[in-house]
């Protein structure tokens, strides 16, 4: 069986990287065995024992990286060898000892090495976050700003800049998003589908997207805005941009908006912007459902209802029944609840529970 060998002088990688590359090579078609090691005598001795030591490998020095592949035929061996550079680059974020064997350490370097990137996730200490986000927007990247402790003034400035550039600025303090099927931050793995979400509440977004998946449907895009977006000061800049994006997204057929109660003025602006050809489900907890209804949109009062109604709409079904079903669902548990209540002493009046996530607490 042919053995293909390659020496990479002065190429230094850590042991885990080299073992992972060897494992990837072993998984390639017709590859029988592979070694990716520094060319020390001790390692060459192990290669000899494994029948991988060629004359070319014998010439290696301890400062050379040796790659040897034993395969069923020469084409397979050559293909595996050709893949090594890419595998090393993927493992270490760079090439084979040519000066790029590491991950980019700055946003500019990342943009240089990933010219086709169009979104930056920024998670640095708050006082540096605005600067990095501004840099990303100036480079033409959408931004998911995971960081918190960004000032209100910076948030407004960033979102204004994003609007001028036609970009999305999700956050600050945007904990979750799903963009083109890729989960960012604390996102849940959900199927892709026809329901788009814009949410000013991270746990609300997670809850609704998970519930949509549980009901057998999927999510086209899920855009987190950050918790302050619908405040009077910020004016819902990201939610408005998100609505516009989903209205023009051909994959999105139903839109869900989620928030704790926004300011009155911002509510009016958002609802006006949301009116369009696609059905929009509005879950602004604590807001007046009449206002939503008069705007021609569909009001719901819980996260569960939001998911149920969105799924029904995505299936072309009417949306009233799911709301009723959600309202009646607790009744099924009534006998059990009454049985538990009967065990309580007359003085026991409280149920103590722990719920994390702002909107979940609010809903509870």
């Amino acid at each position: 069986m042919p053995i293909a060998t390659r020496l990479l002088p002065s190429a230094y990688y850590d042991s885990v990287t080299l073992m992972l590359v060897a494992k990837e090579l072993l998984a390639m078609p017709r590859v029988q065995d592979a070694a990716v090691v520094m060319g020390t005598p001790a390692n060459l001795a192990l290669m000899r024992d494994a029948h991988l030591l060629t004359d070319e490998a014998k010439a290696a020095t301890p400062n050379d990286l040796v790659v040897a592949v034993l395969a069923g035929d020469e084409d397979a061996a050559a293909a595996a060898l050709a893949a090594v550079a890419g595998l090393l680059a993927a493992s270490k974020g760079g090439g084979e000892g040519t000066g790029e064997q590491r991950r980019p350490r700055s946003l500019r370097a990342a943009v240089r090495s990933h010219a086709d990137a169009n979104l930056a996730v920024i998670s640095v200490a708050g006082r540096y976050a605005a600067r990095e986000a501004r840099l990303a927007l100036q480079q033409g990247l959408h931004v998911m700003l995971f960081s918190d402790n960004v000032s209100l003034e910076d948030e407004i400035a960033l979102k204004t800049l994003a609007g001028e550039q036609g970009l999305l600025c999700m956050g600050p303090d945007a904990g979750t998003a799903i963009i083109n099927g890729v989960g960012l931050g604390f996102a849940n793995a959900v199927p892709r589908g026809r329901i788009g979400i814009v949410s000013a509440a991270g746990t609300g977004l997670q809850s609704v997207s998970s519930d949509i998946a549980r009901r057998g449907s999927g999510v086209s895009q899920a855009i987190g805005t950050g918790g302050r977006d619908l405040s009077e000061a910020v004016g819902g800049r990201t939610m408005l941009a998100g609505i516009a994006a989903l209205q023009s997204d051909p994959q999105t057929e139903v839109i869900v908006l989620i928030s704790k109660p926004p300011s009155e003025r911002v509510t009016a602006e958002v609802l006006a912007a949301a009116r369009g050809p696609k059905p929009v489900v509005v879950c602004f907890l604590g807001a007046d459902p009449g206002v939503v209804e008069r705007a021609g949109l569909i009001p719901v009062s819980t996260l569960e209802q939001a998911a149920a109604v969105a799924v029904a709409l995505a299936r072309g079904e009417e949306w009233c029944s799911p709301i009723v079903a959600c309202d009646e669902a607790p009744l099924a548990h009534l006998p059990q609840t009454q049985a538990e209540a009967a065990k309580l002493q007359p003085g026991q009046r409280f149920i103590h529970g722990l719920d994390s996530g702002g909107i979940c607490c609010y809903e509870a």
Partner: protein, 301 residues
């Protein structure tokens, strides 16, 4: 951007007018340099911190984005520079002695013994499965790649380590050198696992020697010299430089913390130091700790 501290082992080299070095490899927290004379040293982040070959750089990430393998760095005694792009001032850097005070281990030998027991147990539980600290694999490897490669290395290293312990206890310096030469350079990465283990073993021998006055079958310095001589030309430049430093008793700041924590009855400093050491590299820290703990420390009932 400036140098904050420099190991006394490399300070004279860096501060010499006419200094020149080439970037040999670059990682997220360290840039390794080699001089035309073959001396290895490293510019590192604060997170890596002081070490026998290290110069700690303020704002390392800025520097790292500018340096690439093959670049040549020059020094004029006052600063390091790469062309017109940047200058690293040397004057603010304090010299840091990489040689810890081994004698403190003799002050409370029973506490040290108890802490060493905890360390052995901790390492067994927490070391990465591919490290030499992991329990010996019971399976026979099928191929020299992926997990079987690490198993093959562990098995081979295990036999050599048993032999080294025996040779050291019998005072057989020739056998120590022979076995060390086969362990040196064993392992795939930048600092092969065999070298890390040997470095830890030499530090352990020095620490054990500091704990008792009995005549040892082999003087630590003789063993250290034999190991370094046998590893020469059998491992990479950088790894040999680390091994040479360990042979001289020079270790990174996390090891200073560990040695200081061993005679301490408070367990927290020891826990922190062990965690920091084991966090170093993929398996390097655990491999070195495994070697350290194999040294013949005095036992107490």
């Amino acid at each position: 951007m400036h140098l904050e501290s420099i190991s006394t082992r490399v300070s004279p080299i860096l501060r010499r007018p006419g200094f020149q070095a080439t970037v040999e490899s670059a990682f997220s927290e360290a840039v390794n340099l080699v001089t035309p004379a073959g001396a290895a040293l490293a510019l590192v982040s604060r997170r890596i911190g002081n070490g026998p070959l290290n110069a700690v750089v303020s704002h390392f990430q800025v520097l790292a984005s500018l340096l690439h393998p093959g670049d040549t760095i020059h020094g004029d005694g006052a600063a390091l520079s790469l062309g017109q792009d940047w200058r690293l001032a040397l004057a603010p850097a304090a010299d840091w002695d990489p040689h810890p005070d081994y004698s403190i281990l003799a002050r409370r030998p029973r506490v040290v013994a108890g802490n060493l027991d905890w360390l052995r147990h901790h390492l067994l539980l927490e070391a990465p499965p591919t490290s030499l600290a992991a329990p010996r694999p019971a399976v026979t490897p099928g191929a020299f790649s992926g997990p079987p490669a690490s198993v093959r290395i562990q098995m081979h290293a295990g036999e050599l380590i048993d032999g080294l312990k025996d040779a050291q206890s019998r005072g057989d310096l020739n056998q120590v050198a022979a076995l060390a030469s086969r362990l040196a350079g064993l392992g795939p990465g930048l600092t092969p696992a065999g070298d890390d283990w040997l470095a830890g073993w030499l530090v352990g021998l020095r620490a054990a020697a500091a704990m008792d006055d009995e005549d040892r079958p082999l003087a630590v310095n003789a063993v250290a010299q034999a190991v370094v001589d046998s590893a020469r030309a059998r491992t990479s430049r950088l790894s040999l430089a680390f091994l040479q430093a360990a042979a001289d008793g020079a270790v990174a700041q996390a090891w200073h913390a560990l040695l200081a924590a061993l005679p301490d009855a408070d367990p927290m400093p020891l826990h922190r130091a062990a965690a920091e050491i084991m966090h170093h590299g993929a398996t390097s820290g655990s491999d070195m700790l495994a070697g350290f703990l194999v040294a013949p420390f005095p036992a107490f009932p």
